[in-house]
Symmetry: C2
């Protein structure tokens, strides 16, 4: 089973204070880039893998999605999602992405924001998602970028000229990483960029667009804390089409 | 015009001593992985962009390719390629990849080994290559990996635990990098993994496979100097199909 760190009380309290938790999609600096990968949603059936507080589910309905299913492993997040949703076309279901089973051909878009790096068996999940999409359907997701998840001891260093550098090691050694993120012992599964893409291709997706997200100059101006993120991308964004 | 560093006397002398120059394809540790991306060559028309000494051109003919055109900007390399080739079905032509023009639909495979990172206008070249391939044709290439080309001052560091780390910066700032490789002032054009892939997709290729190459355990055993390359991939390998 995927580690359910979001139901850890201390983690949940910290996570709930993040800007993206309080402000929703517009509080996530990568959202404009991720949104740009999405297909037209009007009348479409949408699946959100790792829906958290349900921000994307509600936004998809505002865009005219016919119905939305949000999946998450965290009871606490689903409770808050349900408490803040009044829309019979949105359903939230508790499920573990390692064992998720989905009805065939029942969605037009599978979406996932910063959740798939928690999944150990990505092949299995992508096959399941492929089967759940109608032909021509889309898979759009973001994950922590592999250069971000690779290091045994991730963190910024300073180069000789004072510039922030991000030392990489262990990039080709795929597998779990125990990291400190809001709390200790958060397990993320490092895989390479190639592994993400080849898994999609092998399961029957065509890669439509790949983005290695970093903040724009305007975002750095308004949020100077983001500046270092231009030295190495924190997020990998992928748009793919079911063949 | 692409910098023609290979016609610099000192660079050429150093390059000529590299294992891959002396031993050919089998002297390049990434060759088995690159070869695995190639289609069946029997009866096919092959283009080699940055053919150097012509090792791949001659190998392609051994695999039964109908004819092979090797393109390079270096007079010295082409002279050596011609001097070591006795095969009327192989032609070598001097051309600058920034301005290359190719006849439409005249190849089944476009191949390039460690040359496209010298090209400034990749969009133009990929459009040209796309037009030169028959429908269903393949583009297979290797380049220096973007995590390798990104840093302003590339080089290994030692982590606190003595482990080799590769500090990254400037990843999202695409453009030329003046580096020391065999000699000073070698100009390579850094672009992101996403930029390589999106350029191919935009020009009408489907991504078939992506590899971030590092040495196998067996290769590290027989060539211990390769060990650090597993910390971050030195090469990006891509197989794509013309739609």
């Amino acid at each position: 089973m995927t580690q359910n760190i979001y139901d850890d009380g201390m983690f949940f309290a910290e996570y709930s204070r993040l800007r993206r938790s309080v402000e929703g999609l517009d509080g996530a600096p990568e959202w404009p880039a991720l949104r740009a990968l999405l297909p037209e949603l009007h009348g479409r059936r949408v699946l959100d893998l790792g829906c958290g507080f349900g921000w994307f589910c509600r936004w998809a309905r505002q865009q005219g999605a016919a119905r939305v299913l949000g999946i998450d492993v965290s009871e606490r997040m689903l409770a808050q999602a349900r408490a803040t949703t009044q829309d019979p076309a949105i359903a939230y279901t508790r499920a573990d992405m390692e064992a998720l089973e989905l009805p065939a051909g029942s969605f037009d878009l599978a979406f996932s924001s910063l959740a798939l790096h928690y999944v150990q068996d990505l092949d299995r999940l992508v096959r399941e998602v492929h089967g759940s999409l109608a032909p021509g359907g889309s898979l759009v997701f973001s994950v922590e970028h592999p250069v971000f998840t690779a290091p045994a001891k991730p963190g910024w260093s300073r180069g000789a000229d004072g510039r922030a550098t991000w030392p990489i090691d262990s990039y080709l050694d795929q597998g779990p990483r125990s990291t400190v993120w809001l709390t200790k012992g958060v397990i993320k599964h490092h895989r390479t960029v190639a592994a993400y893409l080849n898994t999609l291709i092998k399961c029957g997706f065509a890669i439509a667009q790949v983005e290695e997200w970093g903040p724009t100059e305007e975002q750095v101006q308004s949020q100077p804390a983001l500046a270092a993120e231009r030295q190495r991308p924190p997020f990998l964004l992928v748009g793919a089409k079911r063949l």
